[in-house]
Each structure stands twice: as structure tokens, then as C-alpha cells.
Symmetry: C2
Subunit: 150 residues, 2 copies
Amino acid sequence: MVDHQDIIDNLTAHGIKPSVQRLAVMEYLVTHHSHPSVDEIYTALHPKMPTLSKTTVYNTLKLFTEQGAARQLTIDERNVCFDATLHEHAHFLCKHCGKVYDVAIRKPQLIEDTEVPEGFRIDHSALYLRGVCKDCLLAAETPTRQESPE
Amino acid sequence: MVDHQDIIDNLTAHGIKPSVQRLAVMEYLVTHHSHPSVDEIYTALHPKMPTLSKTTVYNTLKLFTEQGAARQLTIDERNVCFDATLHEHAHFLCKHCGKVYDVAIRKPQLIEDTEVPEGFRIDHSALYLRGVCKDCLLAAETPTRQESPE
DNA sequence: ATATAGTTTGTAATAATTACAATTTTGTTT
DNA sequence: AAACAAAATTGTAATTATTACAAACTATAT
């Protein structure tokens, strides 16, 4: 459903020259909402682009983040991951399977709920939730019915 | 102002046996609200406890987190850091100096502002803000009055 | 005093990320 | 279209955070 030209326009609109590698990374981001890590993106793209370097993936995602074309998530302490969905939303990390889910925010502007000290400039906010996702809860329940709460 | 016995009681209340090393780490946490990293804690304690191992600091903070005696923050992508303040509050990372500040939350229960999917279990939420702190803004303004907004 | 479990330690291994110089590609000027 | 300059990509090496793990140590119970 994602038009190639849309991706080019998206990059261009963020002041990013649409090279083949950058297009590939952005295309991966907009077609996979799994909040991939650098390694995940590299591993997925490498077979079709054997000359792609992991450094390029790092460089590209850094550029995307700086130019506001993607968001860097630090919800998972093991590695950062990325999201090209730009509207305000929260993220949920399942501590069991490690998946990161998007969660809609009812009332935008979370910052207004905080008492940010006078004189501080806020550029960005992130709401991270942790717990166990539905799939993992069901899977844990079914087989033995013997599970620790953590 | 923090009584040694209070720290012992705090650990015990969380089911943690108060060894010398664990006491030292917890004491550091409750007397330093800088949201220290493992390395910061290790470097601070090592001179007075030359046999202390960095692995022990890792083990100890992992134990604290698991037992609910401390929180692990993933706001800074460079390394995780820790906080022994347990009441609900947000964190602010200054992208210039790297300091992490506590920020009070006006209305608790941020989770209620999100549309968490049916069947998910949420154990924890974290609100992370990023920007530039007052000190860094002032410092950037004074000398030249020539600053890029980022 | 001995056995046992729990804790700490140091080292080695792993994994994520960054630095950097060489190469390739792209764009521009002649 | 050749020559040049700038930008982007690549591969390797270095750095850093974290984890694995076995040995040494400590505390506790018998």
C-alpha cells in the first residue's frame, strides 16, 4: 500500500537526499511496524542488497532521527529501535517476548501533565509501558496453569 | 539526613539481604539523585571499597530492580541508569549536558491516558522528556548569542 | 567443626555502537 | 564528456556496555 514515490517525497520533505540505501531503510520502516533495531533492518535488507554495510544503516537511522523523519526508541535496554510513525503515541514492551507495540494516547500533550521546571526547553516526550502482552499471557496460561506472576 | 538503619530496613523490606556491598550501592542511590549509571556508582564507591567488583554493582542493581527497591531508566541510549525514588514521576534528559532530572507528574496514572489493548498486563510506565535544561540554555545564550535551535 | 547456600569477585566473552580512512557515487563545472 | 569537488557508502578496527561463568569467599545452619 505504500507508494515508492511517497517514500521519496517523505525523505525529501525532511531534507534527506533519497539514496538507494536510505530509501531501502525508510521503506523497511514504513512497511514493518515492528520497531526494528539496526541489526534487524540490516539482516532483513542485506540479502537483497549484499553490499549494504551496517555502518550505513547506523548512519541512515541517525540522519532520519536528526531530520525528524523517524523516532529513536529507548524502551528496550538491549538496543535502541526505530519507528517511522510520527504522530504522538506510546509504546509497550512485552518483557516476555520482547515485542514493542504501538499504543494510542487518548489525550495528546502528555507534557502538560508534568511540572516541567521553569526555563527548560522540551523537544520530545516518550511514554513507555512495560508488562506482558496478550499473546504471552494466553500462552503462559494454557499449557500448565502453573505460572509465577513475574 | 539518611539514617543507615533506614537503608537496612528498606532493603530488608524488599526481601534483600543487606550485605556491605548492597548497602553501599543503595546508600549511594538515596544520597545521590543524579540517576547514576553502573559505571558512575562503581567509580564513586571503588576508592572506599577497593575490592568492590563492577559485576557486583551490576548484580546488585539488577536485584534491586527485580525486587522493586529501585527503578531502571532507559532514557539515555548510551547506558541505563538508576533511581531509588519510587513514587511516580517523570524524567527529563538534557541532550546537551546529559543530566537526568526528576519531573513531578501533576496527574498520576498516566496509563489511563492510553488505550492499552485488551488483555495486556501493564506492570510499569515511564514518561521520558528530552530537551535542553535551564543551565545549558543560559550558558548557550550568554557568551555569543549565536546558537542553532538544536 | 562441617556442610550448605548465598554472595562476591575477576576474567573472558558477547554485543551494540562509534571512529575513521578508503572507496565509490553523485553532482557540478568546464 | 572529462575533471573536479562534495557527499555517501563501505569495511575494519576500536570502544564501550553488559553478561556469562567459575573460583573464592562469607554467612548460616547443623
